[in-house]
């Protein structure tokens, strides 16, 4: 038992706290480079996200007077640990699909919400009207996107005969037997919903309403400086790689690491990453009421349609 605990702790440190941040920095570079190319610029060098992180670690930490000091400083760590845990679960499931526990899909869905919660906590704790405004917008956005997201994830569950184990979902999508969920009509609809939700989860344009640099100066992060800001930035970079991997597991049959399959697996993750970046670069920011209406209206309708189609076997 003790060795098993140690093994999973090692997974958490090795995969969650070291490999995922590195992969996240790479994903962040891809995001920024693609953005730059879309705008006919050259873009940042490969190590740019790394230097940003190191620089922020070396800066002074300012805690605003009158803020809730403990929550203000702990909130970034809360978000970071949640994403690290999610990526540990996802990667260990990808490498060993037969392991895992019943209901880890639900755990992942819950944990994916915690980074947003951390942003809200940090925003409200920093005693700044702009940060509070950003945090309250983030809260409304969560209310908006969680329902269609869970409905869209249900599509994969229904296709794999009601399995809520990520490993079983991957095994069911073996190309020789069942094929990926994303190849079905309901799967395509679910992917559309999920990509929009990922956009909102990452607070990218058109749903960057909580941070809105040009409007409320990066919202909940406005009072953050130095290492806490670095952890927030790192959390966001890790989400940038974790969410595409999660979608690949649910809809495109997971990732495989034998021979040429490695290339194909990386391409699948890159597909979602670049899709998110392109949507972010070709859209204006919407208002918060428009965003909530968008998620509760068209997106929920599409997600319900996908669930019904999945139940009828399409």
């Amino acid at each position: 038992m003790e060795s098993l605990t140690l093994k999973y702790f090692g997974y958490f440190i090795g995969i969650g706290c070291i490999l995922t941040p590195l992969a996240g920095m790479l994903a962040s570079w891809v995001d920024r480079k693609v953005t730059a190319r879309v705008q006919w610029r050259v873009g940042p060098p490969l190590l740019q996200p790394f230097w940003d992180f190191v620089k922020l670690l070396g800066k002074e930490t300012v805690v605003p007077r009158g803020s809730a000091r403990t929550v203000f400083l702990m909130a970034p760590l809360l978000g970071f640990s949640a994403v690290a845990l999610v990526s540990t679960i996802l990667w260990s499931t990808i490498v060993h699909p037969e392991t895992g526990f019943v209901g880890d899909l639900i755990v992942v869905l819950y944990l994916l919400m915690i980074p947003s919660m951390a942003v809200i906590l940090g925003g409200f704790a920093s005693k700044n009207p702009i940060a509070s405004l950003g945090a309250s917008r983030e809260m409304k956005l969560i209310l908006g996107y969680e329902l269609p997201f869970i409905l869209a994830c249900l599509v994969a569950v229904i296709h794999t005969e009601g399995s809520i184990r990520l490993g079983e979902i991957i095994i069911y999508q073996n190309p020789e037997t069942y094929g990926p969920v994303g190849a079905k009509l309901s799967g395509i609809l679910a992917i559309i919903v999920c990509v929009m939700v990922v956009q909102a989860k990452l607070t990218c344009v058109p749903f960057d309403i909580p941070e809105a640099e040009t409007e409320i100066m990066s919202g909940p992060f406005v009072e953050y400086s130095g290492p806490p800001l670095a952890v927030y930035k790192l959390t966001r970079m890790m989400m940038l790689i974790t969410l595409p991997v999660f979608l690949v597991i649910l809809f495109l049959g997971g990732m495989h690491f034998q021979g040429w399959a490695i290339l194909w697996s990386i391409l699948k993750v890159l597909l979602f990453l670049v899709l998110v970046t392109l949507i972010r670069n070709t859209n204006p920011r919407v208002r918060i009421d428009q965003a909530v209406r968008f998620f509760w209206g068209p997106m929920t309708v599409i997600a319900v349609a996908a669930v019904i189609l999945a139940l009828t076997g399409n």
């Binding site: 940042p44 190590l47 940003d52 640099e213 953050y224």
Partner: protein
């Protein structure tokens, strides 16, 4: 050179502080971020909060009203940070010299690290100035 300063020279995030400028220098600063000049190549980003900033881009001739505010923004910036004075007004007073509204120059209020002259300075001049400052910080 330690890692802290090296990282600072690799990703200086700038905060744009106008202390009573005529908006000309401010437009030239925004020009630097356009695709033609693309300051993101050097990791330079414009940030909206002084808490995120590593460098203050000060424009304008430091009016009486903006003096305490400029000082407050400087104190809000986490250290280490640098101050870059842009434009003739922020170097001396330019055409406003002797005016009752600007008793002090920018460098009498803030510790300026580098001056970029011009009315307004060209984007090339701003980039050259920032590059010189980064080289100075890197100890070259």
């Amino acid at each position: 050179m330690n890692l802290k300063m090296k990282a600072l020279t690799k990703s200086p995030w700038v905060y744009h502080l106008s202390t009573g400028s005529c908006n000309n220098c401010d437009i030239e600063i925004l020009d630097c971020l356009t695709p033609r000049f693309d300051l993101e190549r050097f990791g330079i980003q414009l940030v909206g909060s002084p808490r995120h900033a590593d460098a203050l881009l000060v424009t304008g001739n430091m009016t009486l009203k903006s003096m305490p505010r400029a000082l407050e923004v400087y104190n809000q910036m986490p250290k280490p940070g640098v101050v870059i004075a842009i434009g003739t007004c922020s170097l001396g007073h330019g055409i406003f010299d002797g005016s009752y509204i600007c008793p002090k120059t920018v460098d009498e209020v803030l510790p300026v690290d580098i001056y970029i002259p011009g009315c307004p300075p060209k984007p090339e001049a701003i980039i050259a100035g920032v590059a010189k400052l980064l080289n100075k910080l890197a100890g070259k």
